[in-house]
């Protein structure tokens, strides 16, 4: 038997099953394509965090109180040295951070700034405030090229 004949015979056997899958979908399929409504909700959830982070970053006392954090005791806010988050360089983390003398993440650096220049109280690295600050900083730097490890 030639290879061509074997191939045709196999195709005749498989084709009906393939047709069922193509027309009806996999037997366990239950997921729908994402809808504009869902996308809007996801984006909205993200932007809520960005806005909270923006307010924290700019020293909004009411938001700090609401989230139970003290990011500064000197009157300084993150944005005073980092307008529009300039020079936070989230795209360069993780990296060796000279001021700390260790390998650090963006969250480590946020806490270092809270404790040193701002003389505030370090926050939990998984806290809502940390996630909001991180969301705002990343959002502000949208489009910047990832360069992890760069000084």
């Amino acid at each position: 038997m030639t290879n061509k004949a074997t191939f045709l015979r196999s195709l005749a056997f498989v084709a009906p099953f393939a047709a069922v899958v193509l027309i009806g979908g996999p037997s366990g399929a239950h997921k729908d394509p994402v809808t504009p409504k869902q996308l809007k909700a996801y984006q909205s959830a993200f932007m809520e965090e960005v806005k909270k982070g923006d307010l924290l970053f700019h020293g909004d006392g009411a938001t700090e109180k609401q989230m139970g954090v003290t990011l500064s005791t000197t009157g300084m806010a993150c944005a005073m040295c980092h307008p529009m988050t300039s020079d936070t360089h989230p795209q360069s983390f993780p990296k060796f951070q000279a001021q700390m003398g260790k390998f650090a993440t963006l969250r480590d650096m946020i806490n270092w700034c809270i404790e040193k220049p701002n003389q505030g109280e370090k926050i939990d690295t998984d806290s809502e405030a940390m996630k909001a600050l991180e969301a705002y900083i990343y959002w502000s730097n949208t489009g910047s090229v990832l360069v992890p490890g760069k000084y």
Binding site: K51, G75, M84, T142
Partner: protein, 381 residues
């Protein structure tokens, strides 16, 4: 940038940057004191970034002075009440003591604005008290942080007129108020004075709009003030904001800078010394030379675009050292009548970048403006 904005900027550039027009040759950049190391070793990365301009931190202003003299510049102390923040107090005290110790002494001190952080009486009086250390005559111009709590009431009581002029040993000095002419962004939104001040005190805020300007009345005053001054004699203008368009999203400019340039155009030796930017900055437009001075409080990063090509950037600072990247300015005129300006940056052997990695834009960034200050109740109409 929109096509229309791009077209406008090109048009303005062609008008203001006429071929061959520069500040008078007697206004030379001096490399006497600090020659950039990269020029000596020819480091390619730095040479590429900083183009052809000599890398310096001294500046000759005028050699038409009638006798040698010195003066000092301090600005952007951003004082909070002493009970809240002692670091800014310590740095202001240090600058005042060092300015007082200048040898030979300064003929006068210019304070370039933003004495206070939130315009409080306590902050302004604290600044005045600290600066009593300097015994020479003192001249003050306001910054936006001094003004927008009580719209300049206390500042005026303490320091008088926000614009002024005087002649000293062959140089005409002019102080301009670039901060008090902001459009009213507070009345319609029923802001308290503290809220008005808070928005003004946020560099990357969007609510206060393009607040910095000189205003027609002051421009007319400046034109009249200069009308009896020989057009080839030196003029030094002190302002809080730079007198050109430098990154408007952070209001590093005055919105009527084109009108300012028109008034100054006939004068061939004009130097503008300004604060506000908290960084080393140098630019030329036509016959006007502009020099940005350091803050004593904290340094600002360079914006992601718009830094004048003639600027040699200052060194990237260590955020863990409150005395890094900040300081004051010392001006001196030698026996030959050639004055130099020196950035006094505390704790730094080098004021300027020594390699690409010394530049805060070593990590390139794309930034977007903030969102939260445009939410209710402060949304722009």
């Amino acid at each position: 940038m929109s096509d229309e904005l791009d077209r406008l900027r090109r048009e303005v550039h062609e008008v203001l940057h006429e071929p061959g027009v520069r500040p008078d040759d007697s206004l030379q950049i001096s490399r006497r004191t600090f020659v950039h190391r990269s020029l000596l070793v020819g480091a390619a990365t730095v040479a590429e970034t900083f183009s052809w301009w000599p890398l310096i931190n001294t500046i000759d202003v005028a050699h038409a002075a009638e006798a040698p003299f010195k003066f000092a510049w301090i600005s952007d102390t951003h004082l909070y009440p002493k009970s809240l923040n002692t670091r800014f107090v310590d740095k202001t005290i240090r600058a005042a003591k060092e300015a007082q110790a200048m040898d030979p002494p300064a003929d006068f001190l210019i304070f370039g604005g933003d004495l206070a952080q939130l315009g409080k009486i306590e902050e302004l009086e604290l600044g005045l008290d600290i600066l009593k250390e300097v015994k020479a005559k003192k001249y003050f111009i306001p910054g936006e942080h001094d003004w927008y709590l009580d719209m300049g009431k206390k500042w005026g009581e303490l320091f008088g007129q926000p614009h002024w002029t005087f002649d000293h040993k062959g140089v005409r000095f002019i102080g301009l108020d670039t901060v008090s002419h902001g459009p009213d962004y507070w009345t319609a939104k029923n802001m308290t004075p503290e809220e008005r001040m808070g928005h003004m005190a946020t560099l990357d805020g969007t609510v206060a709009g393009p607040w910095a300007g000189v205003g027609r009345e002051q421009l007319d005053w400046m034109e009249k003030t200069l009308s009896d001054w020989d057009k080839s004699k030196p003029v030094i203008i002190f302002t809080h904001n730079p007198l050109y368009e430098y990154y408007p999203p952070w209001n590093f400019w005055v919105r009527d800078w084109r009108d300012v340039q028109q008034v100054l155009k006939p004068y061939t030796k004009v130097t503008n010394i300004h604060g506000h930017v908290h960084q080393v900055l140098y630019n030329e437009i036509g016959t006007l030379r502009s020099i940005g001075m350091l803050a004593t409080s904290w340094p600002w990063p360079y914006p992601p675009e718009g830094v004048p090509k003639l600027t040699t950037p200052m060194i990237r600072v260590d955020p863990g050292d409150p005395f890094d990247g900040v300081g004051w300015g010392k001006w001196s005129v030698d026996a030959d009548g050639k004055p130099d300006t020196e950035y006094v940056m505390w704790g730094r052997k080098e004021v300027f970048v020594q390699s690409g990695a010394d530049h805060d834009k070593h990590v390139e960034e794309i930034l977007r403006p903030r969102v939260a200050d445009n939410m209710y109740p402060f949304a722009n109409p």
